[in-house]
Every structure is written in C-alpha cells, then in structure tokens.
C-alpha cells in the first residue's frame, strides 16, 4: 500500500471541464448585468481532473481506509455495528430522496408517516412520551435536551444554573451544558467505577438544573443505584438526562424512561445502524417525558385520523435546532432497521452485545488489567497499566492492533482510568472474530514483555507509520501566529507557500 497524491497535485490544466448543457434560452450573462464589485475576479482554485482520474483517485483513497464492512471495529462508546445494506437502498428510494422539504404536506404524507412511526418506535424502546427527530447528531441532541430543561425551569420561574456531569462522562456532556449556558459541576466516580452517591449528594443543590448520566456508564457498568439517584435528583427539583450513547446495552431489557430519566437522546448512527460515514452524518433524536413536551423543538409531526401534519404551534417551544426536519435520510435508514429487527430482534441484539462484551472481557482479563469487577454490559474498559514498566502504553497496543487487521479500541477514555482501553464488540461479531481479537491481544502483550521497543514502531503494515502530530501542531501554530505561510490545514500551490518576504 502506498499513499495517494492530492487531487490538487494530480490536477492538469489541459483537462477540459465536463460536458454540461448550454442555457439554450436568450438571456444575459452575469458580467453583462452585475456590477464588477460583486463579480469574482479569478476562478476558484479547484483541481481539473477527468472522470476516470477522479474515480481512480477516490478508489485508491478508499483502499487506505479501515471500515466495519471489512472487519472488527471495537471502538468503545461508538457502537460500530454492521450497517445493513437494505438501509441504503431504502433511503435512496426516489419517493424519499427526491422530496423537497417545502412541498405541500398533502404530497409528503408517506414521509411524515415514517417520521411519526419512527417516533412511536423510539418512544417504545426508551420509555418516553414524545421524541423530536430534529437534532443532527448526539451532541446536538444533548444540547437540545438541555435547552428544553432550561426552558422548563424558566417556566417555573426557577433559576437553576448548574448541570452535574460525572467525571467519567463523554466530553460532549460538559460541552453541551456549557453551550446551553450552564455551569458544569463534576461528580466523582467511586472505587467501584460507579457514580459516588455521597459526592452526588454534596453537589446537588437548589441551583442544580440536571444531572447528565449515561447508563451503563462509560466504564460499561450499570449504575445499580439508578433508582436512588433518580429519587435524589428529583427531590431537589432537578431533572435527569440520559446520554444515549450506550443504549445498545439494554434494548428490550430495560428502559431509561422507567429508570426515571426525563430526557433521553439516542444516536441513530450507533444503536440503529445508520452508517457513521467517516464522521457523520448521524442523527440524535431526543425523547422526553410529558413535563418537557411543551418545550420540544417545532415543528412536531402529528397524526389525526390517519392524516399527518407538521405542527408549528408550540408557544413554549425552544424553537428550531436545525433547518427543515432533521436528517431525514438517516431517519429512513433507522426506521428500516427497526422494522426488520422488530421488538424481538432489538432485544436479541442487546443481549448478544452484552454477551460478546463479557465473553471478550473474560478472554483478555489476564492479559490486561481490569480495573473494575464484572459483569459488564455492552462494553468494558481495560487498562494497559500492567505494561507500564515495560514502557508500553495503551497507544502502543492500539497501533499494534492496526497491524493485525483490527481497528483499535478507544484509548485514554474514560479519563478516570489510566491507560484506558475501551472495547465494545457489539452483537455483529461472531465468537470466531472475538477469539481472534483476543489472540491478537495476547500476542501483543507477549511482545510487550519480550521486545517492548518493537511495539513503538507499529504500525508497520499501513500506508503511513505513526505521524508526528507534535511537529504538525507547532507548524500550524506558527502559521496562525503569522510566523509561517504554510497553513498545514489545507493545500496551497507551491509558489503560494514561499515566504512573501525572503528577508
């Protein structure tokens, strides 16, 4: 495998533009009508390539990627499970892909019906009263939920300024809380990896607007005392928010709504198999209990006697969080998945995910440190701390896995475990795959003991080895501070990167 030049480097001025229609009607050209101040002075510096060159370029780039369609992707917290190809076919149906969002409601009854049915299904899975499908991603959903929580407190004329977030939480939790105008107060985990009730007690106050929690938590452990936690939080008048990143652990086994959560976000791109696309698009619907329903983003989809409408009349709504109605194409995929799986299939999926995680945990429990007792739910966090004295770190284990045709687990997260290695196998993987992954871990640990230095040179079999991010970051900062003309964050024609003033 080798690297691929940039499209800009492959560009040839001799390439003709693609054949496109002419106007075929009389009418002015831009230069004939518009003042020169509004006209572009030179064409944008886009590359010039023929179609075969473009297709080869992207095919070669594709070959430099690792994906779930190729093999195991044990990235903890990310729920990398197989994306059924049926979903893609469903979303591409002209009856969906060809719809303009401002068509008359009568002409989009099928689309609205799908959104309504998806909302009903998600309500059933997480145990809430209503769901908004508008948020475009998980973090967007978190923020949407917090805006609703803020609006509810505001409507009660309560001034609550703090949001509690466990130290093991995803980084999006505190970021979403801050973006929503709250102060973030951290709650500590106890030695058993679960939230410390004593610390929670001490942080709860009349200022508390909400506690953000994921359950199972990011260590893969179910918060056994969730009912007590909910009672404590509600007793102070605060709400309980559920980060749905870990929903794949218990579909059909239990529901956040029954645990006492008031607002729940879901990642359709994790639990409901819409593809991750190399970093999106996803979709982050939010489910709420009745108290929060008046504050849902508008419009909602309503159904009366089989007729569907978009309802904009929500005077207490937090407003709109995204243009149009959300990532509709992702909603189609998730709905197709739920139809195909059914209630029975979703329950089986979660049980299989828990089984896979516990099985894999067992296979490697003597090779890596297990900072917390099992059983785990759908994922587990190990630690490479036991390799520390050999000079081997979690990052080395990750890179060595890449060389063995696996993607790496999430490393260095959650922050509460040193040298964390977070593994989420999902229901997709067979026993044989899990066995071979465990074998790879055992080989790597043996190599760490025998020849630790060699691990620092991995990966060796990929298009590039470890990249020097420190030098790159320093060069970027030099550019940003005006000390260099090479931005690093984009390509520039060679002549443009030369210093303007050679002195």
């Amino acid at each position: 495998m080798t690297t691929e030049p940039l499209s800009f480097e492959l560009s040839r001025p001799a390439v003709d533009p693609p054949r496109l229609p002419d106007a075929d009607v009389p009418g002015p050209a831009p230069a004939g009508v518009l003042p020169s101040e509004l006209l572009r002075s030179r064409p944008p510096g886009l590359p010039r390539l023929s179609e075969p060159e473009i297709m080869r370029h992207y095919s070669r780039l594709a070959s430099l990627n690792y994906s779930i369609s190729e093999n195991f992707y044990p990235l903890g917290s990310c729920t990398m499970k197989y994306n059924p190809v049926l979903n893609e076919q469903a979303a591409a149906l002209p009856g969906f892909a060809g719809l303009h969002p401002y068509q008359d409601e009568e002409s989009v009854q099928g689309a609205l019906e799908l959104m309504w049915r998806l909302e009903q299904a998600l309500c059933a899975v997480v145990g809430v009263d209503r769901v908004t499908l508008q948020p475009a991603a998980g973090a967007h959903g978190e923020w949407t939920a917090l805006r609703m929580i803020a609006a509810l407190h505001h409507s009660r004329e309560e001034k609550r300024t703090e949001v509690l977030v466990p130290d093991s939480a995803h980084g999006t939790n505190p970021a979403s809380a801050a973006l929503s105008g709250f102060h973030v107060v951290e709650v500590k985990s106890g030695a058993d990896g679960r939230i410390s009730l004593a610390d929670l007690e001490s942080k709860l106050s009349p200022q508390t607007a909400a506690l953000m929690l994921t359950n199972p938590n990011t260590l893969g452990l179910f918060e056994r005392e969730i009912l007590d936690i909910a009672e404590m939080v509600h007793a102070t008048g605060a709400l309980l928010y559920y980060d749905g990143a870990n929903l794949n652990a218990f579909m059909g086994i239990c529901r956040p709504g029954d645990m006492g959560f008031d607002a729940v976000h879901m990642n359709l791109h994790k639990t409901f198999t819409t593809p991750h696309g190399g970093g999106g698009p996803g979709a982050g619907p939010v489910g709420v209990k009745s108290d929060l329903v008046p504050f849902l983003p508008a419009p909602t989809v309503e159904r009366t006697n089989g007729h569907l409408t978009l309802d904009y009349k929500h005077p207490q709504s937090i407003g709109r969080v995204r243009s149009f109605y959300g990532n509709f194409g992702m909603l189609v995929r998730a709905y197709a998945y739920i139809l195909a799986m059914g209630g029975d299939g979703l329950s089986q999926a979660s049980q299989d995910a828990v089984l896979s995680a516990n099985y894999l945990r067992k296979l490697v429990e003597t090779d890596l440190e297990m900072p917390h007792d099992g059983p785990c739910m759908h994922e587990f966090v190990a630690s490479a701390h036991n390799l520390h004295e050999d000079g081997v770190r979690a990052l080395d284990v990750a890179k060595a896995l890449l060389d063995r045709h696996f993607y790496a687990p999430t490393v260095y997260f959650p922050l509460v475990v040193p040298e964390a290695i977070m593994v989420e196998p999902t229901e997709t993987e067979s026993k044989a795959t899990l066995d071979s992954f465990a074998t790879a871990i055992k080989e790597i640990v043996a190599q760490a003991r025998a020849d630790p230095q060699s691990l620092h040179d991995e990966p060796r079999n990929l298009p590039v080895g470890r990249l020097d991010e420190v030098t790159a970051a320093r060069k970027i900062n030099a550019y940003l501070q005006g000390q260099s003309e090479d931005p690093i964050l984009r390509w520039k024609a060679p002549s443009e990167t030369l210093p303007k003033d050679p002195c």
Partner: protein
Amino acid sequence: MADRRYTKTHEWVTVDGREATIGITDFAQSQLGDVVFLELPSAGRKLAARETFGVIESVKAASDLYSPVAGRISAVNDKLSSKPELINSDPFGEGWILKLELAGELPPDLLDEEGYKKVTEASAQ
C-alpha cells in the same frame, strides 16, 4: 532553589524583590507532553491570585494556567510563541512564562518543595 513556591495546579513562582516569575513545573510538563501552543495575556494586565491567565496545549491535552500571586504583568516570555518546547526542555529556567510586579503579600496557601512533592505523589497514584 529553596525560595521557589508552588500551587496545587502545578505552577511555580519565584520572587526577586517585588518581581515574581511564574512558570509550570517539571511534573506538569511531563504530564502534558510536548507543548505546542500557549495562549498568553499581554503585559500590563492585572491578575488576582488564582486567576486564569492563559491556556497551555499539547496535542492531546489542554490546561488552564493560574497565577500563583496577584500583580501586574511586567513581561511575557516571547520566545514561547515560536519555541513552546522550552516549557518541556527547561520548565524552571528558559521556559518561564510571565513576570509580575507583585501586589500585596504572597498568598499563604502556596506550597513549599516538600508540600508540592506530596501533591505530585498523590496525583501520580
């Protein structure tokens, strides 16, 4: 350097007359890793003790910087903008960050060498 004092947030301060010099400790730079950027204030700004005055970044971490003492910034280490690695190579010397014209007494909660050692041992656990 018996007269070097420390904070729990891993800054150090030395005082010469009414001038204080501030930096981050060797322990702090080793935890951060290779420093790639510092966001620093300009000279002239007044700082209260424990006030945030900047941010220090490595590739994988970022940390706020707190002033151990109160005073007016009299100098900022300009070399750090093009050579942030000085923080790693010489945190107590060439990697100094700010000089302050002291206002008032040193806060009583500054740690001595011994006290700071205990803090680093606790966070290493």
